[in-house]
Symmetry: none
Subunit: 210 residues, 4 copies
DNA sequence: CCTTAATCGAGACGGTACGTCAGGTCTTTTT
DNA sequence: AAAAAGACCTGACGTACCGTCTCGATTAAGG
């Protein structure tokens, strides 16, 4: 029951080279940013990282998996550097609209930043087509972020700023869905004004009933 | 000004083999459904279609372009078979909520239908990563559909069912964005109930102000 | 009954590129001479020949097979350049000893010529270990040469210079076997004097019985 | 003058594991017999022997060297088991022809025995192409055997059965060369009759002159 | 109607990258 | 200190497709 994969006998993680792991992440992120995901190859990552191809294949099943871990590692380091422990929680100043606008504007800025945009799009696209990777992507990157919204909205409900019958999950999708839609499909520009309008309109629907 | 590409003396479209075109579309859609987009190759399409590789390269620049045209053709034929001329417009029974729920439920059904899901995801994913294809995808597939929503919402505004100050474009994204979000990222199941809840919540925000 | 190989559907030889074939032969012979057989790789041959790897794999099953054909081609061209039609036959001056010494000295010279030695040893070694290639090697290179000896010895028997009961095949092996033995195992130097002694001793055994 | 290799500070042979040495020989011979020389790898030998790769690399420079030592060890053990001290000398019954036929028939039998044939061919082939290994092969395996012939022929010369002017070395090559030729190139079957004919023909050439 | 030129099926070609295998070195832990 | 284990960098393997490029053999347009 515990060994579902008859494959390849897992390597000994305790002997793993941290040096190589770092180099692979750096190379992967750099190549994706510089040349795009499609033109990034495992061979290229290995060469740039000064690492044997086998060292990549030993630890990851695919290019996308490497990039996902690289991205996760990047996010973790960024988080660690910036704040402290479990930061990134949406601020609660008591003004829900302001708090959401702040977060959504920040998200818009990220989406307009090529350094974030390139690997992010690549991962999203790959996850859309590869269910297994998609699950990992959603679980490791997306859901944690969505959790922030859920908690902030629940707090707003407790404070009486949001209809207590509203489903926080649905509410959050109203905020995040349109943003992602514009971002992924590039239909219209993503601006702070758009973020603001979005928050205002959604909150109208969430207002406590008279 | 009319021939931006000095390359590749354009082929004579009048001599084009309709037979081959059909076979290529069929093969492309079949292969994507059967084996997935990533494992679908131009060579494979050519072989399955009983066609020379050059015949594909003569008329399309990439695998994604072939699939986009195949999908467009499929949609056109489906449309033709079902309705009449410029169908697919969102019905206007006077009850906006009911009309939107009808359309969104239909969309949910499509997203749950593997025959639509596979090529659709593939195209979306490719468009996310390839801006040129993304533009064609958005223009040819996405925007026309969004137009239906815009027109129905404008009609509702004219009928006084929706706040005349609301931006129809933003409104539509509130409906479509969350749906796409769940679909593409597979966060939670897509059901008719979800479509209904979505419409209800969005319409609360769009209600004319007292 | 005629298609015992379920494999790969033979390529169309009529479309084959003569240019590539030549370049591959030249590259293969050059590399074997320069760096040795073991260090010669198919990738290296392809690179040196300015040819895709697949073009080699399409027409030959192994490095050894390439080299065998290259060597055969070289021999054929050499033959063509030097003599005329079906030359290489052992001369018949009436003096068997002299004729054999002439041929064996030439053989000794070849074995001492690095340009011949390197690919030749490589092929012999490979044929020793790979029965299939060995058969091709024997059939295409070795046996034709042995045939020359058989015919010259038979002529000598007809002329009464050799015991008519002697087996020409056995006789020839007495000449060629020791030469190859010294050559392949590098036990002692190969000289013209050795060739002469060999012929003299063997002919003593072949002399017509009193 | 005593340390030709500046590299790799020679390991301490006194601490060497006899257990591992045995296991490596057994594994090497088994693998060569079972799967052929080309498919036998150092990794495979190590795995089969339950030994670390480094243990092989510490004591041998190449796969061929391992196999040569394994073969030598096998021969030594066989010799030890069968006869006594420095056996294997060609018997001297006074009848040179009979003695040689006895030995050559035994050699033919060995060459037809797969257990001997496989590693033997592999070593011979490797030695043909790799001069260093070839020298070791010749010195350790071939020359000792040829020595037996030299001594037996010299004894025959002393007994007046062979022309005293004949070169024993050349004579021996007349016997062994043809045998090896047929064996290595697989031109014709190796039989006892062939061995007999060979001896008879060679001895005619070696007969004392009238 | 009949030439004639472009398209077609086919597939060989020079390439790039794949994912795998083994070589030989190095490091860690055990004996 | 040698040995078992195995991760590491390297380099070649043989394969799959890429996109380009011939080849006859249709095949539809215009003379």
């Amino acid at each position: 029951m515990s060994e579902p994969r008859p494959a390849k006998a897992a390597p000994d993680a305790s002997r793993r080279s941290e040096r190589s792991r770092r180099a692979i992440f750096d190379a992967a992120l750099a190549l994706v940013s510089e040349t795009g995901y499609a033109k990034t190859t495992i061979e290229g990552i290995a060469a740039r990282a000064g690492v044997g191809k086998q060292t990549i294949y030993r630890w990851w099943p695919s290019k996308a998996a490497v990039l996902l871990d690289a991205f996760l590692d990047l996010a973790a380091r960024a988080n660690e550097a910036l704040g402290g422990d479990a930061q990134s929680e949406i601020p609660d100043t008591g003004d829900l609209a302001a708090d959401l606008k702040y977060v959504l504007r920040a998200t818009v800025d990220e989406m307009n930043d090529p350094a974030f945009d390139a690997p992010s799009r690549a991962l999203a696209a790959e996850g859309i087509v590869d269910p297994e990777l998609g699950a990992r992507f959603t679980e490791a990157l997306l859901e944690p972020q969505l959790g922030y919204y859920v908690r902030r909205i629940q707090a707003a409900q407790a404070a009486g700023d949001v209809d207590p019958d509203a489903d926080p999950r649905l509410a959050l999708e109203l905020l995040v869905g349109p943003l992602h839609h514009r971002w992924l499909h590039r239909t219209l520009p993503l601006t702070h004004a758009y973020a603001d309008d979005l928050v205002d309109l959604v909150l109208r629907g969430l207002a406590p009933r008279a």
